[in-house]
């Protein structure tokens, strides 16, 4: 398998605070790669640097061998990297179908010139297929603001899918969901990879989800990588257990 995303010697400092120091890892095509760590470990910072919201202080990020670090977040977005947010952005007054259509429209009409040169692009087929994939086809005409929280999160994933990404960055996709919704989300994440061929980078606190979904996991503590490996490897690593999970922690 070839490499989708490569992060090399990444450092991010905010003034005197080092949020990420010397982070190096590579994510293969069609891999589900998890990032875990205690609160304040710098997971979200790492995410934001990869997505281009912050510029790295040092180090580089490569997407399929091409350097993307230093690009702005919208440039990275146009190169096939999509992300989902903890707080889902929706057009609350609009229907599910319109939300999906708008995500594709905002993405393809990324500037005024593109807007006038790409009119009339048909996205209805895509709305159909994405909603079917997510199992929300029966909700297409429902107002997004009235959806239950679990469905809103699914719709957020759908909006990212409308941009046809290669790499999907997911920021705590199951935070705030109930246990059955969490299981459904875990299945959905695996289907994103198995059926759509996406590569997924996942930041998540929910250990059962991370351990059952991810192929490999990066553990960071205070911005520094502790270890990288399979769920089994991470769970047996004593330094991880001591530093992060706590002595009494039991994996579900």
């Amino acid at each position: 398998m070839s490499t989708m995303l490569e992060v090399k010697g990444l450092v991010k400092r905010f003034g005197g605070l080092t949020a990420s120091s010397n982070v190096t890892f590579a994510v293969d095509h069609r891999e589900i790669f998890g990032i875990i760590g205690p609160n304040g470990a710098g997971k979200t910072t790492l995410f934001n640097v990869i997505a281009g919201h912050y510029r790295p202080t040092a180090g580089s990020i490569l997407l399929e061998g091409r350097k993307i670090s230093g690009n702005s977040s919208d440039q990275i977005g146009r190169q096939g990297v999509a992300r989902t947010f903890q707080a889902v952005h929706l057009f609350h007054e609009e229907s599910v179908a319109e939300n999906l259509r708008r995500a594709a429209m905002i993405s393809s009409c990324h500037n005024p010139v593109a807007y006038f040169s790409q009119r009339g692009e048909k996205v209805s087929a895509k709305v159909e297929s994405v909603s079917q994939f997510l199992g929300v086809a029966h909700l297409l005409e429902t107002k997004a603001g009235g959806l239950p929280y679990g469905h809103q999160k699914v719709l957020g994933i759908g909006m990212a899918l409308m941009t046809s990404p290669r790499l999907l960055l997911m920021d705590e996709p199951v935070a705030g969901l109930n246990p059955s919704e969490k299981r459904a989300a875990g299945t959905l994440i695996r289907r994103l990879r198995d059926e759509l061929g996406l590569t997924i980078l996942l930041v998540e606190h929910d250990m059962p989800l991370v351990m059952s979904t991810c192929d490999r996991i990066l553990v960071i503590k205070q911005g520094t990588p502790l270890t990288i490996g399979t769920p089994a490897h991470v769970q047996s690593d004593t330094s991880v257990i001591d530093a992060y999970l706590g002595e009494d922690y039991e994996f579900a």
Binding site: S73, G77, A82, H89, R102
Partner: protein, 305 residues
Amino acid sequence: MRKGLLAGLLVLIAAAPWIVKSGYVFHIATMIALTIPLALSINLTLKLDQLSLAQPAFMGIGAYTAALLTMRLGVSPSLAVLAGGLLAVVISAVFGPIFLRIKGVYFVLLTYAFGQIVNLVFQEWTSLFGGNNGLYGIPRFSIFSHSFGETEYYILGLAVAALFFFVMYAIERSDVGAIFQALNEDEMFCRSIGSNAQSWRVAAFIMSAFMAGIAGALYAFYIGFISPDSFGFGATIDLIVINVIGGPGSVFGPIIGTIVVVPLLEFLREMRQYQFLVYGFCLVFFIMFFRQGLVSIFERKREVV
């Protein structure tokens, strides 16, 4: 939105000068028509959550460009109006990308400073702009040496106001409106799916400058006299009050606001010192009790979910 009622009312107001045959009404109606593009121009910047205080400066750029081109170079007024709009476009295209790197109150301050600097240039470069005495003797507007009378000029003003209104209406109703809304609500999300937020903001800023520049040029030909005073901070306040009273959320808001505020300004002309008192009360009242502005009268109440 009770659009039928509103549209009928607007047509009636536009026709008022022919119903009430009075020169004064004609003048006020023309001033309303010439102010609408300005009110819309500041509304366009508000649509991107940025309050620009530079619009009267672009109006002045349009006005002085048009006046000087006709007076000094004998350019025909219709071309001069276009040139006025285009120079505003060029200048906004240079400064917009710089200003729009900054958001919120600092953008407001930057555009304020820009407006003041432009005004100072009008005041101090006396050989070109005539200083505080301004420029007078601007010829009447004409097309193919046909000089426009009051009625014709009013119709021209109405046509330009209507044109910009429909452009803004189309923006609001189209996907561009949806893009603006999304950029305001969650820029990070829009950028994550590839939207170049800055390019949209710059485009809107340039469009707003174009509207202001055209309005300024038309104003110059109508009044026949321009001075830096007409394009100063006071004019900015007028435009903000118009938007607050009319309602900044809808494209109809600035229209209604202009129809209310411009006559008010004319009536208060004799007692200029009370103008800001009235403004103050209006702003407090509308911001505290009537946030959506007068336009909300014509909007159907949202169903309670």
